[in-house]
Symmetry: C2
DNA sequence: GGCGCCATACCGACTGGTTAGTCTGCTGCC
DNA sequence: GGCAGCAGACTAACCAGTCGGTATGGCGCC
């Protein structure tokens, strides 16, 4: 375990660009580019795209490092294994969504609005990170057992938080109690999960419009 | 999970014992027995289970043939490739669900009931074939391009049929038109797709109960 | 203000293991 | 005697991970 990839801010300075090397591999555009993206992030980005396109197993480490413009040495310098890459992708999206859900859930608003906002927000961020979602739901089983367990635990936290919102509304009587809250949550996240199958960025609907529609469907289903 | 000789009826094979090998694996009764499940079906069943458990890529054809009690020769006698196996699994579930949807859609009932029945039925059959669903949504990208295209086309047919039901109700005014029918369909199938991630056969709800709840959510969301 | 020393960041050939698919051949039935 | 239905050794390809090697910049010390 030696992935200390965090803590890297995108870069602070101006056109600093230390004379890289004699043999350059992929030559990141050096012309007045203010930040050459750090290698770990390039690797993660390349892996995300390739995993989403071809699947985890169909993507060789060689392809990833080529897409990132480095070599295997670099990858194994920053990550312990191919599996680590996948885990890092999961951790990133989980962190993001948990933060946003917490923010919405704690807002000082009526529960209907909090739920609607949270439900719509997860749709928007899911669309903005369609690749992550694709990988998430398609490749979970490629994670090592411990990592899988860890990811599941965090997912459960997320699920619980969301469910609590639904239950709060049900108890308060503003939502129908006809359906168990658990099922309601799974119903909604099914549609989120499903987004990467049908949503196309150049389609007729903007992410926000889709989000509004899906949140609306949820709230309508919950009308008493 | 070494399953060598199980699941088959003990072959009552008489004296027949090639001097070549002392280890034979499954001993299918060769004496004009017509009932032991045919090899192709055994292979399909084994592949379905293993693909669902471990994923397509993580399952070697060696594992499949061992689970089916045959050898590679048999598999490649009946199927052109590992890919073919996957395609066959898809084709089977697609055929089944299309048939059932058609039956519901054509029934002589008010549109609300037809939609509710169809929506609930797809949930029940999906639960009854959780493995197929898991494979379907997780491994589509492993299909060869042409096969993938074919499967997509059939899926679209299915989607269209379902959408037509929603639109019929919207036009008739019994369903709200607030949400485009396409989105409504994707919303519902998202939850179906998602079933394999959370539904557990030994959980508190029967397949029918889950189906009723999910169909109910759909119909409630469509209330004018 | 130069010098040795080392850590960091990366390179890329190599290894050991795995796998899909092939091919030759056996065997019991018609 | 011919053929469907299979057995199972074999091969060619591939791939995750390793490891010895190289360039660069910082730092203490004289």
């Amino acid at each position: 375990m030696r992935s200390e990839t965090e803590a890297d801010e995108p870069g602070k300075g101006a056109a600093r660009d230390g004379r890289r090397s004699g043999r350059q591999v992929a030559t990141v555009p050096k012309t007045t580019e203010q930040t050459t993206t750090p290698v770990p992030q390039r690797l993660l980005a390349a892996a995300t795209r390739l995993f989403a396109e071809q699947g985890y197993d169909r993507t060789s480490v060689q392809e990833i490092v080529e897409a990132a413009g480095v070599t295997k040495g670099a990858l194994y310098h920053y990550f312990g294994s191919k599996d680590d890459l996948l885990h890092e992708i999961y951790a990133r999206v989980l962190r993001l969504q948990q933060e946003r859900l917490d923010a919405h859930a704690e807002a000082d608003e009526p529960v209907e609005k909090r739920l609607r906002d949270a439900a719509a927000d997860v749709v928007v961020t899911s669309i903005e990170n369609l690749d992550d979602g694709q990988i998430f739901f398609r490749s979970m089983h490629h994670l090592s057992p411990e990592k899988n367990k860890q990811v599941r635990a965090e997912r459960r936290r997320y699920h619980e938080r969301f469910r609590a919102l639904v239950e709060e509304g049900q108890t308060a009587g503003v939502f129908s109690s006809a359906t168990p809250a658990d099922l309601v949550v799974d119903y909604h996240f099914g549609s989120v999960h499903h987004l990467s199958t049908w949503y196309r960025p150049n389609g007729p609907l903007t992410p926000q419009q889709v989000a509004d529609h899906l949140a609306d469907l949820l709230l309508r289903a919950l009308r008493p």
